[in-house]
């Protein structure tokens, strides 16, 4: 393998029913940053059926080139047709970096591709950087249930492949002035590539979510004062790709369902970020969340016990801080 033959940063664009998944836009944002650092181009790789209309959008979000492969067999995600076409594209264009979302699709496709082309793959990365000296991609990911972080490199194989968790990277600015080329790639598939048969496709808009699995939790308590305040928490949770939970007081008041209760009589959670909003911090509540990695507490009572457990405390009116926080997060994107 001649490493010098591999240039450019590429992003697998995940679309479902013609809709680009947010993680792919986030990866275009991150890919743009990496490509600029390497002084190279950003390539979006789009597979699907009747998805050509999306291609231009990908340019607006930062791609210099869009490789478009369309085929009826690429309509719904199936491992083999996607692997075959994606592999043929990266074998041809030889990118030095391939990024994919760490989704139920990306985490199926990426390992299959990496095994086929004999290169390294690092899963669920949360930070990507370029090594100043070697120009290798430094891929940092959590392991041991988030207790350890590891930085992984792929020094002697190309492309360097990584899946990245949704909600971690920032979407770049959509710029309709941006120019880029759209290149069609012939998907050479035959019937034998469809080695599984899809019998039924079921959409579940309200998928059961578990607060125990969430990496970000926005939790509300009595201090919110009213049920409507939970809508603000929902907006904040959306902004941070997290879920809303509550204290026992909030559940007893009927502001949130019991399935989302944190604490001794509810669920024990260990998210990466826990924002306690108007929660005083009764010991029963703290028992359910104290192992969260980073705890932010917002409470108007400066002597609330929750501040003793928080990494960052804000004394103030939670109903004012939350909207300001949403505003601040939006302005930083």
């Amino acid at each position: 393998m001649n490493m010098m033959d591999y240039t450019g940063v590429s992003v697998f664009i995940e679309q479902r029913d013609g809709e680009v998944q947010k993680v792919s836009l986030e990866l275009l944002g991150e890919g743009r940053r990496l490509a600029d650092k390497l002084n190279t181009k950003l390539i979006a790789i789009l597979l699907g059926h009747n998805v050509a209309n999306i291609a231009q959008e990908l340019v607006y979000y930062g791609a210099d080139e869009v490789i478009l492969a369309e085929d009826a067999m690429l309509d719904k995600y199936v491992t083999e047709p996607y692997t075959k076409v994606f592999t043929s594209i990266i074998t041809e264009i030889k990118p030095e970096i391939v990024l994919m979302g760490a989704t139920a699709i990306g985490r199926d496709l990426a390992p299959r591709v990496s095994a086929r082309v004999y290169t390294g793959l690092t899963a669920d990365c949360t930070t990507l950087e370029i090594d100043e000296e070697t120009k290798n991609l430094l891929m940092t990911r959590p392991a041991f249930g988030g207790n350890i972080m590891a930085t992984i490199i792929c020094p002697e194989h190309r492309p360097q492949m990584s899946t990245v968790r949704p909600g971690v990277m920032l979407v770049g600015e959509r710029d309709t002035e941006r120019k880029g080329s759209i290149i069609k790639h012939q998907a050479q598939l035959d019937a034998s590539d469809m080695n599984v048969e899809i019998l039924e496709v079921v959409k579940e808009t309200k998928k059961k979510v578990k607060i125990e699995d969430a990496n970000v939790l926005i939790s509300g308590g009595r201090g919110l004062g009213k049920k409507e305040s939970f809508e603000g928490l929902e907006l904040l949770a959306k902004e941070l790709s997290g879920l809303v939970a509550g204290s026992r007081a909030a559940v007893d008041a009927g502001w949130i369902d019991r399935d989302f209760q944190v604490g001794q009589t509810g669920k024990t959670v260990r998210p990466g970020l826990y924002i306690a909003c108007g929660i005083s911090g009764a010991i029963q509540h703290v028992a359910g969340m104290e192992e969260s990695e980073f705890i932010v507490a917002i409470n108007k009572n400066a002597t609330a016990p929750i501040f003793e457990f928080a990494d960052l405390g804000i004394v103030g009116d939670v109903n004012k801080v939350i909207p300001a926080l949403i505003e601040e997060l939006k302005s930083k994107k």
Partner: protein, 260 residues
């Protein structure tokens, strides 16, 4: 029907604690378990055994102590257990691991290979699909339900926003989710058999056919450059400022901590 179930022995990460002073992992006294996604895969295989008389082989790659996980699998009802162990396998990343496991599976007969979706100590979800690739098999990952119609498997393959019901013929590889079932307990007779009747086969490098340069640290495309804990917890700061300033402080801190 012949089924091979790949399992991994893992430390029970729900029992792993950080030393608050040093910020390092406390590994002592942490029990080892069969990885939960794998255990559900084994249960699915045992259900096929109950219903269709399948023959179930469990396979693990790891150090000698991984034998305990195989004994448990035998006690649950698996028919055959193979421990793949050799110093040559040490330091393998997912590519080398999958290559080694695939080489072992080539020595076996199979209609279905089951691997758990991901291990709780590494969370990569890569080894299953990579084994499928090395064996050139169809794969279905994220399986939450499995039925067998006499010739094909009908699988519920879940996504974030729903699921596909897919049909796949033999042989194939699937990766299973722990939500799929509630694994059975070891039976008393099973435990008896696992220690008295059934043997664990130990396979080394010489028992598989594989290119040596694909194995262990040398065969692994990825290398760990460094690993670190996020550090010890220090007392948090409390700010009493107006809401706009507060929002800025929160966002800055989350950025500093790489949370956003």
């Amino acid at each position: 029907m012949k089924i091979v179930v790949c399992i991994k022995q893992v430390p029970d990460t729900t029992e792993v604690r950080l030393d608050p002073k040093t910020g390092t992992l406390i590994r002592e006294g942490v029990p080892s378990i069969i990885n939960p996604d794998d255990k559900s895969g084994l249960e699915a295989a045992l259900q096929l055994k109950d219903e269709f008389g399948a023959h179930v082989t469990v396979l693990t790659m790891g150090p000698q102590q991984a034998e305990a996980a195989l004994r448990e699998a035998l006690a649950m009802g698996a028919d055959r257990a193979i421990l793949l162990t050799d110093r040559a396998f040490a330091g393998s990343d997912t590519w080398a691991t999958s290559c080694t496991l695939a080489a072992a599976i080539k020595n076996l007969e199979y209609d279905l290979i089951i691997a758990g979706r991901q291990a709780i100590d590494g969370d990569t979800a890569q080894v299953g699909p990579q084994i499928a690739e090395h064996l050139n098999l169809p794969q279905v990952s994220y399986v939450e339900d499995l039925k067998y119609d006499g010739s094909s498997f009908i699988l519920k393959r879940v996504f974030e926003d729903g699921y596909h019901l897919v049909k796949v013929g033999k042989p194939c590889l699937i990766t299973t989710l722990k939500e799929m079932n509630e694994p059975r307990y070891m039976s008393v007779m099973g435990i008896f058999d696992a220690y008295r009747e059934k043997q664990i086969e130990v396979w080394n490098l010489k028992d598989i056919t594989v290119e040596r340069s694909y194995l262990g640290l040398e065969g692994s495309p990825t290398k760990v450059k460094k690993s670190f804990t996020k550090g010890a917890k220090t007392a948090g700061k409390v700010f009493e400022v107006d809401h706009k300033e507060a929002a800025k402080i929160i966002v800055d801190k989350l950025k500093e901590k790489y949370i956003i």
